[in-house]
């Protein structure tokens, strides 16, 4: 009898030709909170999906209570007592809150038909015990992201699982909600549940985890007791080397106003957003996921035009109704979700880069291959995109290279105002540093940059000023000097209006 309730040995997983897990081993003890740490793309989510039967490993073994198991699908894992909260939200938008909690295992009567009354009463009890107040009959579609996350948590808890996996459960919760969640996690741990916990916030890890396993580039690095490690140790383990300068921000004297936003509102999404963005300035936008930052960016870029308020570009008031118009005004927007909004995965690098300004490579609508090719090539080379040729399909590139293609695409439009939405999400540290250096250089050249980021170090390291949003409202605006992690978190989780004069 080993000490582990769950043990992974040499797990390997390939997608297509790319191996994303190289022989990862991992042991989980009953009654512990075991943090899984690693950069984006280190293989944490894949590992979890192997455990829960969504992916089948290409090599290695899984032992559950010393018995080797093989999960063909998530149902088998669930029946074996494994529950999970996934990073990507996995609710059915057309079903209501209560049913989402009990999806696939609704309580039934003796005759086998669903007992709706029992379902609602149990859902009610569960949510109450979690301290969440939601309309049980509201469709999941109508919930905020934080509310959805609560439902996911309720679902995972309701399984009474022996092993509970939580992949970034706190990414859009307020401090108070996080504290409540941790209370529950500790309670479950004390009752003997083994918990795998993933978070990007190292502080949280120190607060709640007992042991920590670090993954890097799909390989196992080390497992430590949390009380024996320091923050710096963990970062070194994660990154594998010391990065001399992850945030190479140059000091640039801000120029004239490039973008001025006044009383910008989008009914029901955000309201009364005011800021100025100067040439050569990087304005960071901080806040929780779902705070409305992306919506502000989308409104400025004309994807979903604002319902009221004004936008001035270089002193001229404009009404931006479409991205096309925004592009012609010198705006560029690198969206948050690469797969969904940034990239055309099934088209080649050239076509991706040339798309926003395709007309420039055409004569009366007929494409001029040579012009397109050379422009795309120089853009790709400048961004150091690693690929066999510029005809390679975008979907075959790694995450970091995809992001470089998206950046190359937008930089080739020669923007004067650049909006970067989570510019370094899901890319390796090397590329991350390169992107930061690029931002700094662009700012030095006088481009105005609005950067949305959920990574506080990035916000603090790269921004000249920092704007904080919470639930669709602007709650703070700090200068680089006065901003601290604590101040930003508190502004991002509290509705107190502390907008300062500019």
């Amino acid at each position: 009898m080993s000490e582990y309730v769950l043990e992974l040995k040499n797990i390997a997983k390939r997608f297509g030709g790319v191996e994303v897990l190289h022989g990862v081993s991992f042991g989980l003890r009953p009654g512990e909170v075991h943090a899984l740490l690693g950069e984006n793309g280190a293989g944490k989510s894949t590992l979890i999906k192997v455990i829960t039967g969504i992916h089948q490993p290409d090599g290695g073994e899984i032992f559950l209570n010393d018995k080797q198991v093989h999960f063909d699908d998530p149902l088998q894992a669930r029946l074996a007592g494994i529950a999970a909260i996934y990073q990507e939200l996995s609710l059915c938008p057309d079903l209501n809150v209560a049913e989402n909690i009990f999806l696939g295992r609704q309580p039934t009567t003796v005759g086998g038909s669903i007992n709706w009354r029992k379902l609602y009463s149990e859902a009610d009890r569960l949510l109450t015990s979690l301290g969440v107040h939601l309309d049980l009959k509201a469709k999941a579609r109508s919930l905020s992201i934080a509310q959805m996350q609560s439902v996911e948590i309720a679902r995972a808890f309701s399984l009474n699982a022996r092993i509970l996996i939580m992949d970034e459960p706190t990414s859009s919760l307020t401090l108070k909600e996080v504290a409540e969640l941790f209370g529950l996690v500790r309670r479950l741990r004390d009752e003997g549940t083994a918990i795998i916990f993933i978070s990007h916030r190292l502080e949280e890890l120190f607060e709640v985890a007992d042991r920590v396993t670090v993954l890097r580039d799909g390989s196992y690095v080390d497992t430590r007791l949390v009380k024996d490690v320091t923050r710096d140790d963990l970062v070194r383990l994660m990154v594998g080397r010391t990065i001399s300068n992850l945030f190479p921000k140059q000091d640039v004297k801000p120029g004239e106003i490039a973008l001025k936003v006044e009383h910008l509102s989008l009914a029901g999404i955000f309201e009364d957003i005011n800021f100025e963005l100067h040439k050569g300035e990087i304005l960071g936008m901080a806040g929780l996921v779902g705070a409305g930052r992306t919506d502000v960016a989308r409104a400025i870029f004309g994807v979903v035009p604002p319902t009221s308020g004004t936008i001035q570009i270089e002193g001229r008031q404009v009404e931006i109704k479409s991205p096309q118009q925004a592009i012609s005004l010198g705006l560029a927007y690198v969206p948050e979700d690469r797969q969904l909004h940034g990239l055309i995965p099934a088209m080649n690098i050239t076509s991706n880069i040339s798309l926003p300004i395709l007309k420039e490579y055409a004569r009366r609508g007929w494409l001029q291959d040579k012009a397109e090719r050379s422009a795309a090539f120089s853009a790709a080379r400048q961004m150091e995109v690693r690929a066999n040729s510029i005809w390679q399909l975008a979907r075959t590139l790694s995450g970091g290279n995809q992001q470089k293609v998206v950046l190359a695409k937008w930089l080739s439009t020669k923007p004067r105002i650049l909006i970067l939405d989570e510019p370094t999400r899901g890319i390796d540290v090397g590329t991350k540093a390169a992107v930061h250096a690029l931002m700094s250089n662009l700012a030095a050249e006088g481009i105005a940059i609005l950067m949305i980021s959920s990574e506080l170090p990035e916000v603090l390291g790269m921004s000249d000023r920092i704007l904080v949003m919470h639930e669709g409202q602007m709650t703070a605006l700090f200068s680089r000097a006065e901003a601290t992690q604590e101040k930003i978190i508190s502004a991002a989780t509290q509705t107190i209006k502390t907008v300062r004069a500019l």
């Binding site: 829960t52 969504i54 699908d73 998530p74 149902l75 088998q76 894992a77 669930r78 029946l79 999970a84 996934y86 990507e88 939200l89 996995s90 609710l91 059915c92 938008p93 057309d94 079903l95 049913e99 999806l103 696939g104 295992r105 609704q106 039934t108 086998g112 038909s113 669903i114 709706w116 109508s142 679902r155 009914a267 029901g268 999404i269 319902t307 009221s308």
Partner: protein, 333 residues
């Protein structure tokens, strides 16, 4: 455009009304009924209502099954051909064996339909062929098989025994059997979709396939199942069709698939999956039946019938989407 917050009371009223997606279609049904009754009072008689129900019974049976397919973000274009093939095979079997018990006939039809449906399910769920392509193909294949099977002949009324004709025409407590079949199917589907886990899984798979898989729902099985169920319903419909029309021809139920899709869509089923109710589809079928019925009753030139039908389908879906959009906008305030 500046949008001011609408007054709470107004938005609440709208919300409550439209929480039931059937609201819009009921409105259209009432308006249509009033207009038609003014022109042709016979419309609002029990006898006429019975005839409308007779007319839509088979449509209801198949449209409800079609709805299950559409709920999973699929579509089954082969139902018309399945009905035709089953009707033909059943009719020939009865012609050869007039003494065969009706129960066996019905079960035979459903079994044949299940097999044809399972072929659809196989190439869609396991073979990963997009539903519209797969069933477009089987639409042609099954229709061609009718011809291969019948060698171009048809079964005229006098070759079918009276007992078989009574399967649909006979009455129970004054209600024609065929209507009872439709009611039973509607109740079964309603129960299945709302009170069984498998039924809820259908919604889950259509609403968010990945999420459904994460919670352990076997997506492929559910998708396979809905096509088999649709096959069974189409098989039953084939038997009833042969019985009601006392014959079976090579073009039986030709083009019927689009009517079933129309009934579902008009009834508020979302083509992108996950949304749709049994009462909605029943109302959708009723509306289509009423349009057919009233165009003849109001003595509009028969040439207007199809145009009116097309226009009303468009009005129904456009008004539905506009109402939903307004509701969503108000709700998000």
């Amino acid at each position: 455009m500046t949008v001011k917050t609408p007054t709470a009371s107004r938005s609440n009223l709208l919300l409550t009304l439209t929480r039931y997606r059937e609201f819009g279609i009921i409105l259209i049904i009432i308006i249509l009924a009033v207009i038609v009754t003014l022109r042709a009072p016979v419309f609002l008689t029990l006898g006429n209502f019975r005839d409308i129900l007779l007319d839509i019974s088979i449509l209801v049976i198949v449209a409800l099954a079609q709805t299950m397919v559409i709920l999973t973000h699929g579509i089954d274009l082969s139902v018309g051909s399945v009905i035709g093939l089953v009707a033909m095979m059943v009719a020939f079997t009865i012609k050869a064996n007039p003494t065969i018990p009706l129960v066996v006939v019905v079960l035979l039809g459903m079994a044949l339909g299940a097999i044809l449906g399972s072929f659809n399910g196989l190439i869609i769920a396991i073979g990963k062929v997009p539903p519209i392509i797969a069933t477009l193909g089987t639409l042609s294949i099954y229709r061609g098989m009718i011809f291969l099977y019948s060698k171009g002949y048809w079964i005229p009324p006098f070759q079918l025994p009276d007992t078989f004709k009574l399967l649909s025409k006979g009455t129970f407590l004054g209600i024609p059997h065929i209507i009872i079949f439709a009611i039973v199917v509607a109740i079964l589907v309603y129960y299945f979709l709302n009170y069984t886990r498998t039924g809820r899984d259908i919604y889950a798979v259509g609403s968010n396939p990945d999420a459904a898989q994460y919670v352990g729902i076997r997506k492929q099985r559910i998708i396979f199942l809905v096509y088999v169920l649709t096959g069974i319903a189409a098989g039953l419909a084939g038997v009833l069709w042969a019985s009601r029309f006392e014959s079976s021809q090579t073009n039986t139920a030709l083009g019927f698939e689009l009517q079933t899709v129309a009934a579902s869509i008009v009834g508020g089923v979302s083509i992108s999956g996950g949304v749709g109710t049994v009462p909605g589809v029943l109302l959708g079928a009723l509306l289509l039946g009423m349009i057919n019925n009233s165009v003849t009753l109001v003595r509009i030139s028969p040439f207007w019938e199809q145009a009116a039908q097309g226009l009303l389908i468009l009005i129904a879906v456009v008004s539905d989407i506009l109402i939903m959009r307004r509701v969503q906008r108000n709700k998000s305030k």
